[in-house]
Amino acid sequence: MSSTDGTTAPRKIVIDPVTRVEGHGKVTIRLDAAGAVEDARFHVVEFRGFERFIQGRMYWEVPLVIQRLCGICPVSHHLAAAKAMDQIAGVDRVPPTADKMRRLMHYGQVLQSNALHIFHLASPDLLFGFDAPPEKRNIIAVLERYPEIGKWAIFIRKFGQEVIKATGGRKIHPTSAIPGGVNQNLAIADRDALRARVGEIISWCTAALEHHKGYVAANRVLHESFATFPSAFMSITGEGGVMDLYDGTLRVIDAEGKALIDGASPASYRDHLIEEVRSWSYLKFPHLRGFGGDDGWYRVGPLAQINCCSAIDTPLAEAARRDFMAVGGGHPVNATLAYHWARLIVLVHCAEKIEQLLFDDDLQGTDLRAEGTRREEGIAWIEAPRGTLIHHYTVDKNDQVRSANLIVSTTHNNEAMNRAVKQVAQTDLSGKEITEGLLNHIEVAIRAFDPCLSCATHALGQMPLIVTLEDASGAVIAREVRQ
């Protein structure tokens, strides 16, 4: 029925620029002539076309457009693009209100994204065991068996989304970061509603962290050995190496904790990183310049965020970081499953940061935007929930984007995910049969990295997978599909 009274009609018109590839995670395991695992590949087909779509768009549109193209962590893309466009607009420092609004939004995003991952996606594996049947390993089962964890899952995530809405105008696709600043400050009513609940959110985040530590203590051997390998780690850190998820310089450490790169600025990313293209993957393989593709790869994400920083500037998360680092005995923690523990520490940190900011009067400031002299190039990075996200644009004199290059967190982890799958295959593949156990373990290993792929982010947990086994000549000898 049509009406022209304007009161009942929905106010939403949705036309999507890209049809997202919803699909299976595809894994190929290649055997050598002797039948041992030689290589494993995790194929990613999702990051296509957005760099082209952006070309020719006006630069101030990019923070909004880009988050619609790469759909899994829209807030991080929105902010990374806005930071790059600050530079295009000639602004090196946005006003404090703008900086803090964006930070608050970012902490809200990392909080909700980490909560989604920990509770909805990973906790079923951890609580019911990796080999529990997939139909039992999901958030519904968690809600039934562990109602307390179910409550954390729902309300921590919801709180993060409300922070995003209060700072960004919308709860999934915020719109408030614009070149040079933001277009709104934090309304008192929103601030007060969030203030009233943040204490409880912090206590739930720490309870979830303690609960997880109990799990680690009870499963120490599995925790340290599953899909584990040493690697370098990369993350942005703030001044003095203190954790800063929103802005800072780049630090890369090797598996022993020695700094390979430190203090690098966004503008220098190409001096440090090479993006290698391999024929079989749409996802590039970035690695450190001067180390080669075989040795120069690294991991990003929560594990890297914790391993790379020298301290955390919020007390609960800092105490948790010290506990965590004690496991490595002064070295970075290399266990793949430690991603989850690290993710929980970051979760606590974000909740603490949100509390600090909610009591900062700068958020009600009215100086929202700075201006400067137009530049042609903008490069920015941010620690997204899944790790370092880099945006690089050039803009012509007509204000149109000439080129865009994005390195998303999952791209950085490409090599590491392949190694993790290979590790699992080496441990779990006996003979030429793709067993249920192998499928489960591949799923758990990939999930630790929380890749931003539609196959890995179904809110109900199940990861659709296709695993193919090839002999030394490349002929398929087995194939299993899990829906």
Partner: protein, 239 residues
């Protein structure tokens, strides 16, 4: 023709008009909203878009170009007419490339506001996804042809209000497109303050570097549905 005021009815409601007024003009003055897109109160009406179509004395007629007449019987806000209007709006969405989620005009756009008014969520026609250019050559204004609905408001405003004739059309039917005298915007006489810029009902002719400064959710049609400025006149219009 006499200069006497006269009366006609719209959906059964008597409306007073003066000679020379179109149906839309008389209804606007009386606080009755007839949905429209190509019509603009400061521009000569042309009857391009047909969104204002009413049943007038039993025949479908574009109300923006139809002179009001004594005793006329106009049907405007009926389910059948609104369904047709909605179809027209959906066709306009399908013919261009409209991604409201990140459009600068979202919330200020008349096409989108009509979509809202008629309860449209996504067009039911197949998208044509035409290849259309962006002309950003002008220092202060750009045209995103992806969002042009060929309403000719800019053409008329440039000619009659700005005295410039910056815009025109070329081609026919589905190939019809907006052109700029001189080729590109930087070769035209357009200035950012021109009425032609402000006349565009959608996010096609846009002032540069000001996008998104007003947050989504706090824009014209976020505050009140399209046409409510007109219906607000009802009752208050009598002297």
């Amino acid at each position: 023709m006499s200069s006497e005021r006269f009366t006609f009815t719209v959906d059964g409601v008597p409306v007073e008009a003066e000679p020379g007024q179109t149906v839309v003009e008389a209804c606007d003055a009386a606080g009755i909203y007839i949905p429209r897109l190509c019509h603009h109160p400061d521009l000569p009406p042309v009857g391009h878009c047909r969104v204002c179509t009413c049943v007038i004395d039993g025949r479908q007629t574009a109300a923006c170009i139809m002179p009001a007449a004594k005793g006329m019987v106009v049907e405007n806000n009926t389910p059948a007419l609104n369904a047709e209007r909605r179809t027209l709006i959906e066709m306009l969405f399908a013919e261009g490339n409209h991604f409201c989620q990140f459009c600068e005009a979202s919330g200020d756009c008349e096409l989108q506001a009509l979509g809202y008014l008629f309860g449209m969520v996504a067009p039911s026609f197949p998208h044509l996804w035409p290849e259309r250019p962006v002309d950003a050559s002008h220092p202060d204004v750009y045209i995103d042809h992806n969002r042009c609905i060929l309403c000719s408001r800019c053409v008329r405003a440039s000619r009659t209000l700005d005295g410039k004739s910056v815009f025109g059309f070329e081609g026919r039917g589905i190939d019809m497109h907006l052109t700029v005298t001189g080729g590109h915007l930087d070769e035209s006489a357009l200035a950012a303050a021109d009425k032609a810029v402000a006349a565009c009902p959608v996010g096609c002719i846009v002032i540069k570097r000001t996008g998104y400064r007003t947050p989504y959710g706090r824009r014209r049609y976020d505050e009140a549905p399209i046409g409510s400025d007109i219906t607000a006149r009802r009752g208050g219009a009598k002297d």
